[in-house]
Assembly symmetry: C2
Homo-oligomer: 114 residues x 2
């Protein structure tokens, strides 16, 4: 290891390549929506292992890949852990208000069903 940024890199779509349908599809899964909400309220990036999800690690990996490939999150390796961050600014520039309204809607629905 020459540096600590020798980390493997992950394929992310450019902002211009992000497709609305893919974002909506990514957010239409309960597990992924939950991940997205957790990221939204967290100040710092979160490691995959920080999430308490009702699925196995294999499935968790799958969901994070869907979120990354759809452009919802950006992932970077940091040692053995992988950090996740919402691509807020980019999504806001592409689809103004969309992410916020989905997050608000998710919170409203949770409150409504509780």
């Amino acid at each position: 290891m020459t540096e600590h940024d020798t980390a493997r890199t992950l394929a992310h779509p450019e902002a211009a390549e992000i497709r609305l349908e893919d974002v909506l599809h990514a957010l239409s899964d309960p597990v992924r929506l939950s991940i997205t909400r957790d990221l939204a309220v967290s100040a710092a990036d979160l490691a995959c292992s920080h999430f308490d999800l009702p699925v196995t690690k294999s499935t968790t990996t799958h969901h994070f890949r869907v979120l990354r490939e759809s452009g919802v999150v950006r992932q970077t390796y940091r040692g053995t852990t992988k950090l996740n961050a919402l691509r807020r600014e980019e999504l806001e520039a592409l689809f103004p208000g969309l992410l916020d309204s989905v997050l608000t809607a998710a919170a409203a629905e949770e409150a409504r069903l509780a």
Copy 2:
């Protein structure tokens, strides 16, 4: 026919039964998003046959059912034709700003890719 509202009725979810994940999933399909956009800019309700979609009638029926069962549209029979209307007020009450931001995002993406 005793009246012209002898029309068969269709099962719609109550407002309280509408689930965010179902709405997002409904809107994540290009055909259904296109239908939704057309309904949004139309003053009156639109018959299924008014849409020029790249799929057969069978598939069109399927997509309208997904939209109806997810709570995005309300469908009523009017003679032989079936009229479709967005459930704007109900969706706005449940998920404020969501539909508008999706519609705006779809328009933005269309402009961006053109």
